[in-house]
Amino acid sequence: MPSPVRLQQQDFSLDAEIAALKQASSHIGGIATFVGCARDFSEGRSVSGICFEAYDRMALTEMQKLRGEAIERFGLIDARIVHRVAAVVPGDNIVLIAVAAEHRAAAFEACRWLIDELKQRVPIWKKETTPEGDAWVTPHP
């Protein structure tokens, strides 16, 4: 079974990640997922592609920390975090958060918390291709 925390170039399978979560325990009462995908606009401009870059070793360490913190903070049974580091086009998957808990509230809250924290703490950058040229994305607070 692939590691629950990964940076990878290729696409991921939501079904495979959910199946991996279900193997963790029969106490699971709910699985919440978030899939971030590439959209075709940003800041009023059309976007034809996005290229990701990561400080791999630090990003993986931080993602593993996030997983551990989420499991402890929300009492999760398990959690998986996968981020692609690749050139993608609109519609492509970018990031997957999948969490399993005994009850839905913890699963929903943990999923939201994980993607919010990932954006703040994990050293990954994206560059968008627009009609005006390529531009690094400056995140909003």
Binding site: Y55, L118, K119, Q120, W125, K126, W136
Partner: protein, 79 residues
């Protein structure tokens, strides 16, 4: 040797992904910032985070050891 890494928009500004500096006794993170700044004036103005050996730090007076790895990073935009 101190290894200095640049990523994304910062790498674009300094036009390289990695620099190396000879380690000298008493060297601090501040010394590296000053040397990169002299070589590429203004390039570090978009740096929001620094890392020492893959851990975030903001302590510029932190002494450096031979073999340390430093990263200068702009705000993250993953996800």
């Amino acid at each position: 040797m101190i290894r200095v890494l640049f990523f994304g928009p910062v790498a674009e500004r300094v036009d390289t992904r990695e620099m190396q500096f000879e380690h000298t006794p008493g060297m601090t993170l501040h010394d590296i910032i000053a040397r990169v700044g002299m070589q590429y004036p203004g390039a570090l103005s978009i740096v929001s985070f620094m890392a020492l050996n893959q851990g975030q730090t903001s302590d510029r007076q932190q002494p450096l050891q031979d073999g340390d790895e430093i990263a200068f990073m702009a705000k993250f935009s993953g996800g």
